[in-house]
Symmetry: C2
Subunit: 187 residues, 2 copies
């Protein structure tokens, strides 16, 4: 399992064995059951999680009670409530498990210590954050310029693996359309 984390980092910065051990020593391992929450609205957000097994979703519940999925996270993805985690605020999002899951998680303090001890980790996190930004901007443009069908097609292209692991209902919620509309498309 450690290997997944190591490969993820080494896609961006090479690491010696010792360096990777140092990295690893700043993380903890978490195991979670399907339906289990790892972040809850109104509660603190102590960790970012790197998923090594399973599938999670982060979602926002609006004032009318409707839930909107911000992100899915499967193996090799990072997930947290950014606003809560980085600004030390209570969560506005929820994160729960769609499948039994295992993560390596790290606190903000530990992340900062790690970056101080191993400069290239700061570069790594900057690269990840930058890639995240680009993806988010594309998602915004997609929401603004594409209709439901186009967004669904794009989703299939971008995340072919997810299609088979996630009920359509949730994909609809991620795409910002109703499950009925998606149902009528997908045929």
């Amino acid at each position: 399992m450690e290997e997944i984390l190591r490969r993820q980092i080494e896609k961006i910065v090479p690491l010696t064995d010792d360096e990777f051990q140092l990295v690893l020593s700043h993380f903890s391992v978490g195991k979670y059951k399907k339906h289990q929450y790892i972040v809850q609205q109104e509660n603190p957000v102590p960790y970012v999680h790197f998923v090594v097994k399973g599938l999670l979703k982060s979602f926002y519940i609006d004032k009318s009670g409707k839930s909107h999925i911000l992100q899915f996270a499967m193996e090799d993805w990072w997930i947290t409530d950014n606003q809560g985690f980085y600004n030390n605020q209570n969560a506005t999002l929820n994160i729960d498990c769609l499948e039994d899951a295992q993560t390596y998680y790290i606190t903000l303090d530990n992340r900062e210590k790690l970056c101080a001890e191993l400069q290239k980790m700061e570069f790594f996190f900057l690269q990840k954050m930058t890639a995240g930004n680009i993806a988010l901007q594309n998602r915004i443009l997609s929401l603004m310029s594409k209709n439901s069908e186009e967004r669904y097609t794009q989703f299939i292209q971008l995340y072919p693996d997810l299609i088979h692991r996630i009920p359509k209902t949730l994909i609809a919620s991620y795409l910002g359309i109703s499950r009925e509309t998606l149902s009528r498309l997908s045929h």
Copy 2:
């Protein structure tokens, strides 16, 4: 003008005079006229710009020819086509000036050099990127969970300064609604 850049950085990391001179030496100054493009679709994206004067917008033109505003940038904001800039690709966005503008701009190479020479600048960029991420995620949730009126109200709250500098037509394009609908809202 330099002072604006310095204050922007010092909101996150303190700088000595020498350090700031080092920072500054990696930037160039650009002056642009209203209507001038500083990034064009299909062209390279050599710089990120820090705006010290004026107002710009970045926008995407979809396949049907409709334009969607991704971002405005006034004094103290950063702007570029991220995908083009960080991945060394051609632009998918356009950026032009809504008012005569002045920026400090930097290449990717120079940014990397600067971070290598002055570690805290990497921390600075990471912080900015993180804040950007949070803002983008909120915008996505806003697009998914709020109707036109709520999004407009939120825009006014978030960017009260911009309301008076930007025609409603463009605000509509930023909010992902038609100008007619916005006109009927604003009352």
